[in-house]
């Protein structure tokens, strides 16, 4: 059974259809890249999989380990191990990153019927993971993303991903706004998490990220559909010839 | 909110009322309109009489106690005679500017000889309040023009208004020349009441300036004026008001404005003269996506008292309002800013900001700021900021070290301080006009 199955997905926002019958299958352990021009529906797909309010699913279904995902609330999906690294991580003033991480992790564990981590145990784990990602301790004591640089925000997303150990990671333009050094750190963090039991969907505009995070499958999205799928060569072709050739295919 | 005990009312209310009662009775024959109009006036006067002149226990007038500042209402000014009109003309010439079209009110009466009615273009109709109230055919119009609120000074105006300008600008019409309503006072120790009306049709664009000036030798007068304005959908109005009254005059101006969908309103208000001056505006953003920008400047010295009070009522979704007030207070002047942003339950996505800053140049000066938020819709982004303080000593020293005299250094800092509010005036000519007024004030300061 595939880990994630999206079938004939139609999605509207305020009455306008954004996704027009999208299909996508992701097996356990695979890394899929989704590429496409602005407005092709990439972010919408990530929001619909994670259950963001404001989208109407008019047809189709999403199965996660064979279970109907659309029947679950966004927090339940998170507890099942679905993680979204946001394109624009929000700032939450007054809530320290550490407190945020602990509240979220314990909420997920509770939902899975596990006991919450003890404070010392949690702190130790968070510090270890932060160190691997080159995140200074001081950042953990600051408000979530408050005053963080673009690179710090993205690293904070990867920190959360590493800590929560999700089964399906959706990375929405994790490379946007990163310089080459920051990109390398983020990519290393992602690669360290690749495992046969974990799948990833990497949404990006550019081939650049895929030099570091090498995908098993590349999809091209245009106008709310997957118009072409292939291996990593497809990304290189796109880099060379652009998206225009696919505009008509959609 | 008072720390000290309530003192007795500063003024004997009964006396004040009796005086006004006489004024109304005395004016009766001179107030245009009969029948229904006369009823409206009588009811408005009753409403006024119930509360009398506003005082500090009336929350909206907390800082401008008219029982202390005005004491009572003076008798209505006589209809201006030929010599009065000649004196008025001199004052008009001083304040008029090209290419504006002059509409002149002298002592509360429209003066057609001093006005440029002939120069009005197509789609612009200017009449007088007197005509509207005296021709029974426009009964609905009369009701609209005389519409009133709970405010005592507006009620008094409804009762007493002798004349005013009624301007209608047709749908889609774009006015190239500003309309310049000039209020001139020639009579001393008298009061005048005007009521004007402006209707800007859908999609029309216009600039309207109101100036308040006095003829030589006119002193101790009281001006009470109200403007009712309707700004149509997608219309755009720039509205400026400059108060340059006689040094011992009282001027109470009120304005009630409704702004339609996607319309733009740019207000500018400047007070730099007169003993007691209040501008109170009630702006309702009535249509979806309306935009309001307000800038206000109070320039005060000696014992001048100036009050700018503005209520911005977001009554429709997606409206934007920006209010920006600056006060420079010298001598024993007192500046009052009260600004309120209301977001009604239906006004989701309201974006309202208000800034008021006061610069105090003397230890006898006073600045009272009361910015208010009254929010009933949850999806809003509203805020206000208020600061009060003196000139930055370190900047003064810096300028001094570069060879500027203290006076020049102060003038530079004051201009910079006012700049932001004046920059907000949309029309370039009017911006220059406002800047010139500021410079004149600064020069007189030396």
């Amino acid at each position: 059974m595939p880990l994630l199955e999206v079938r004939n997905l139609h999605v509207c926002v305020e009455g306008r259809e954004i996704l027009h019958g999208l299909d996508l299958t992701v097996n356990a352990g695979e890394v899929h890249a989704i590429m496409g021009p602005n407005g092709s529906g990439k972010s919408t797909l990530s929001h619909v999989i994670t259950g963001k309010p404001g989208y109407q699913i008019t047809a189709g279904r999403i199965l996660f380990k064979g279970e109907d995902l659309l029947a679950l609330g966004p927090d339940q999906r998170a507890a099942k191990g679905i993680f979204l690294a946001f394109q624009y991580p929000v700032e939450i003033p007054g809530v320290t990153t550490m407190n945020f991480l602990r509240t979220a992790l314990n909420a997920q564990r509770r939902a899975r019927g596990q006991s919450g981590y003890s404070t010392p145990h949690f702190l130790k784990r968070a510090r270890t993971v932060a160190k691997q990602l080159n995140i200074p301790q001081s950042m953990l004591k600051r408000g979530v993303n408050v005053g963080f640089s673009g690179g710090e925000k993205k690293r904070n997303e990867i920190l959360q991903m590493a800590l929560f150990e999700p089964v399906l990671c959706i990375l929405d333009e994790i490379d946007s706004g990163l310089d080459i050094d920051a990109l390398r750190i983020v990519a290393e963090g992602i690669n360290a998490m690749r495992s046969p039991s974990r799948s990833m969907i990497v949404i990006t505009h550019y081939q650049r990220l895929l030099n570091y995070v090498v995908p098993d499958v590349v999809h091209v999205m245009s106008k709310g559909r997957v118009v072409k799928s292939g291996d990593k060569q497809l990304a290189l072709e796109l880099e060379a010839s652009g998206y225009a050739q696919f505009e008509d295919a959609a | 909110m008072d720390l000290v005990l309530a003192k007795a009312m500063p003024e004997d209310k009964a006396n004040a009322e009796r005086a006004v009662g006489n004024v109304f009775a005395a004016a009766h024959g001179r107030l245009p309109g009969a029948g229904r109009i006369a009823d409206i006036r009588a009811r408005a006067f009753e409403a006024y009489e119930r509360v009398g002149l506003p005082h500090r226990r009336v929350e909206e007038w907390k800082y401008t106690d008219l029982r202390v500042l005005m004491r009572d209402v003076l008798p209505l000014a006589q209809q201006p005679d030929a010599p009065a009109l000649r004196r008025a003309q001199a004052a008009v010439e001083q304040s008029a500017f090209e290419p504006a079209i002059k509409l002149v009110l002298v002592d509360g009466m429209f003066a057609s000889d001093l006005s440029d009615v002939a120069r009005l273009g197509k789609g612009v109709d200017v009449g007088t309040l007197r005509e509207v109230l005296e021709t029974s055919t426009s009964d609905a119009m009369a009701g609209l023009v005389l519409s009133t609120t709970a405010d005592a000074m507006i009620s008094l105006n409804t009762a007493m208004a002798t004349d005013g300008v009624v301007m209608t600008i047709a749908e889609g019409r774009v006015l190239r020349r500003p309309l310049h309503v000039i209020h001139v006072a020639t009579a001393s120790s008298a009061s005048h009441f005007t009521r004007s009306y402006l209707h800007l049709g859908d999609g029309a664009h216009a600039t309207v300036v109101e100036s308040f000036v006095s003829a030589e030798t006119a002193c101790g007068y009281q001006a009470n004026n109200v403007t009712i304005a309707l700004v149509g959908d997608q219309a755009s109005l720039s509205h400026l008001r400059v108060k340059a009254d006689a040094a011992d005059a009282v001027n109470i101006s009120s304005e009630i404005i409704a702004v339609g969908a996607k319309a733009k309103l740019n207000l500018f208000n400047m007070i730099h003269s007169g003993a007691v001056s209040r501008y109170q505006g009630f702006v309702t953003l009535a249509g979806k996506g309306a935009e309001l920008a307000v800038n206000g400047v109070n320039l005060l010295r000696e014992t001048q008292h100036a009050d700018t009070t503005l209520v911005v009522d977001h009554a429709a979704p997606n409206c934007v309002s920006r209010q920006n007030f600056r006060a420079v207070v010298d001598g024993a002047g007192r500046s009052v800013f009260q600004g309120r942003i209301i977001a009604r339950p239906e006004a989701q996505k309201t974006d309202g900001k208000l800034t008021m800053r006061a610069l105090l140049l003397s230890d006898q000066a006073e600045a009272d700021n009361k910015p208010e938020l009254e929010i009933f819709a949850d999806d809003v982004n509203c805020g206000h900021g208020a600061t009060s303080g003196g000139l930055d000593e370190s900047l003064l020293f810096y300028f001094g070290s570069r060879g500027l005299s203290e006076n020049d250094a102060q003038a530079l800092l004051i201009q910079a301080f006012l700049g932001e509010a004046i920059e907000g005036v949309a029309n370039e000519n009017l911006r220059d006009f406002a800047t010139a007024q500021t410079e004149r004030w600064l020069k007189a300061r030396r």
Binding site: D75, T103 | M1, L360, E366, A367, N369, V380, G383
Partner: protein, 498 residues
Amino acid sequence: MVAARETVERVARIGVDQYRYGFETLIESDKAPKGLSEDTVRFISAKKSEPSWMLEWRLQAYRCWLTMTEPTWARVHYPNIDYQGIYYYAAPKPKKQLASIDEIDPEILKTYEKLGIPLREVAILEGVEPPPGGPPSANRKIAIDAVFDSVSVATTFKAELKKAGVIFMPISEAIREHPELVQKYLGTVVPISDNFFARLNSAVFSDGSFVYVPPGVRCPMELSTYFRINERNTGQFERTLIIADKGSHVSYLEGCTAPRRDENQLHAAVVELVALDDAEIKYSTVQNWYPGNSEGKGGIYNFVTKRGDCRGKHSKISWTQVETGSAITWKYPSCILRGDNSSGEFYSIAISNGFQQVDSGTKMFHLGKNTSSRIISKGIAAGKSRNTYRGLVSANRNAAGARNHTTCDSLLIGDKCGAHTVPYVEAKNSSVTFEHEATTSKISEDVLFYCIQRGMSQEEAVSLVVNGFIKEVLQKLPMEFAVEAQKLISISLEGSAG
């Protein structure tokens, strides 16, 4: 108040109807006849065996009260209060003269245990995790004065405080035992001719706490008063007077609860603080009077006058309040910055839900030279509540160098509530620096989704964001209070999310 150690989980899933302090204690009580007259005032004074000067003072206040009507400027609406339908004095009936705490009616002791107020003299351990960088928590002691209806029933740690020279006792006792101090300071901050409710309080107050910290003494422990209204149809009118003599320092905590009742009950307290040269008073309140049920029935009318006088140079008074209860809140803890270089602070969290109406804020009167004040107000409105911040900052002609900074933020949860901000900023000389900023917004949908995507429930997410919003103020509370306040806030907002 180190209130109950219950966790949020234990009281979880309750709505505004589930006020957790809403039980009633069945004990006999001794009441004054219903209604207010000179006789009532005399009755109370006699009950307290007061000296004649005190009775005279009360009668003067009563006559002042008669000349005034209720204030109407606040944004609160309530039916007329029948001042003749209230009992002005109710005391638990003593079985005999009490010699020690063991002789207090066990029912009352049980009540305080239920509330988590240990009246026995035991050191209080936090049992909660200290925030990073927080103060060490071991072995802190808190002296408590418990006021049940109108009467102080127990004051703990008296002996230890006495050693330090600190006087902490019910004000009724202080009137008898330290008349010179009471006469010197009572009514000097809030005079008998003050506002309507303060006048009423001056006439009929029955008890409250009295604190005197002698020169140079740093009070060895936190002082705390715990107020509880129990009787039906009873008004509570407590009076607190705290004097910090030259160079002394005291931190005082106050907590309040009441049973759930369908009728409204009046609470009109007066708190007077006096700080002499170089003295500092920190006054913290967690106000959790019964707010009424989900239909807006019942609840406490809280009309409170709190004022601190920074009488000495370099003195400091700091108010911190967490307001979650009461059907109506009308209170403006203020500072009179009279001494040169004195400073005042006001840190407030006001949360309203259901049909609660809050009109609260502060007043900072800058009178001396180089005085400073800081205001941080965080208002949260949910349900169908109304939440108004009303604050005054004024500087006199002679208050050269006065400085104020005000931050006033409001958060709306849901579209049936209202949040209002009404500041008055009055500057009367050119050397002031006043800065005021305010915002009103709602919790962003994007922030909520971010938290929920990380696995939190909607309620957890709202609670987390709200806690972040109020953190600046929460940090100003003594730690035991901060933990309790945080729980209270989660409970107050339950059922408001989504």
